[in-house]
């Protein structure tokens, strides 16, 4: 039982939580044949937003068209959106039960709130771009593809750690 959430109960042992996640992933593979993803669902939402605001543009954009065009509703895309709604509900349930659910801004000890928000938006944008180039994120590609022994998934995962360790010293002030 390592690490307490601020004002909450201790987090679970990471190996125990990892086995739980692995069994959920295994059940997903057995039932659907694919893994658990997040960035694909975000892309579906973004493409639907583009389609709602500028349908003529969405119809000719080669990337979003694959998500919005008539007949493009691949079952897995809808499945992922519902699954992400599940992630939100499951995360909320766990946080409530552990006394960790509250409105707050989590940040390192030496960084201001505005700067933290700016970093979060910038980091999210960089990450979002990366997920599209790689065709997945830590859930759908690294975790799910890693368990399926996909070489691309393992290359992606190692690249994440390499870049993370390379950049971390440059922004030490944000986190330590």
């Amino acid at each position: 039982m390592t690490g307490a959430g601020p004002a909450g109960r201790p987090y679970w042992n990471p190996y125990l939580a990892g086995v739980g996640l692995g069994l959920v992933l295994l059940a997903t593979f057995g039932i659907t044949g694919h893994g658990i993803g997040v960035s694909g669902a975000v892309t579906s939402v973004v493409a639907a937003g583009v389609d709602a605001v500028a349908p003529a543009y969405a119809a000719v954009n080669p990337y979003f068209r694959a998500y919005t065009a008539e007949g493009a509703e691949h079952p897995i895309k809808n499945w992922l959106v519902v699954e992400v709604v599940g992630i939100l509900l499951g995360g909320l349930a766990s946080a409530l039960l552990a006394g960790r659910a509250r409105l707050a801004l989590d940040r390192g000890p030496r960084i201001g709130a505005r700067q933290r928000i700016a970093y979060a938006i910038a980091g999210g944008a960089i990450m979002g771009f990366g997920t599209r180039l790689a065709r997945g994120c830590t859930s759908g590609l690294a975790l799910s593809g890693g368990a399926l022994l996909s070489p691309g998934a393992w290359a992606f995962m190692l690249a994440i750690f390499a870049a993370g360790y390379a950049v971390a010293p440059l922004i030490r002030r944000q986190w330590t």
Partner: protein, 181 residues
């Protein structure tokens, strides 16, 4: 679709239980202070990988039922490098950002909003990125076929590497300054 909701909820529940909805804990991975990311991720991979090996071996799951991701080596390495930068700068990956948002963390909201911007930007420049996006296609291959090894050997290798990484992580964490509280 009920399955999607239930499996997603279980996934989000375990992510939050592990403490991966906490960006300071996640960032600890990259400052050698808290290896929860590595421990949770590799334990999950090994659990699902060994489970799939057993279930396919006993015939409970048909290997053809499993959708192996397409490998495009160069864009996936570059995408991983870009992703890694964004992860450390923003503090969450997409799944953990969802958990942070769900537990009320405003920085989780900001990361997901930023992510939508990044996804939109990719769609904008996709035409110019198409050659890179489609570079080095290897198909829906797996490590056993690429390395020419039996699946059991690769499963054993990944499990041993994960075990070695866990021992190293525990050893580093035992130094002063340990786990993020």
């Amino acid at each position: 679709m009920i399955g999607a909701l239930v499996l997603g909820a279980a996934f989000g529940f375990f992510l939050e239980r592990a403490g991966l909805g906490n960006c300071v804990k996640l960032a600890g991975q990259f400052y050698l202070r808290d290896f929860a990311v590595l421990k949770v991720m590799f334990t999950a991979i090994v659990t699902a990988m060994v489970g799939l090996y057993v279930l396919t071996a006993v015939g409970a799951v048909e290997p053809t039922h499993l959708q192996i991701p397409q490998t495009f080596l160069v864009p996936q390495i570059l995408g991983g490098l870009v992703f890694g930068v964004g992860f450390v700068v923003g503090g969450y990956c997409p799944g953990t950002g969802c958990v942070a948002l769900a537990s009320g963390r405003l920085d989780g909201v900001a990361v997901l909003a930023g992510m939508a911007v990044g996804v939109f930007a990719f769609g904008e420049v996709f035409d110019r990125m198409r050659d890179l996006y489609l570079a080095t296609p290897l198909g829906a291959v797996t490590l056993p076929t690429v390395l020419g090894l039996p699946q059991i050997a690769v499963v054993a290798l990944v499990t041993s590497l994960a075990g070695g990484a866990f021992l190293l992580a525990e050893w580093i964490e035992r130094r002063p300054r340990g786990v993020v509280e």
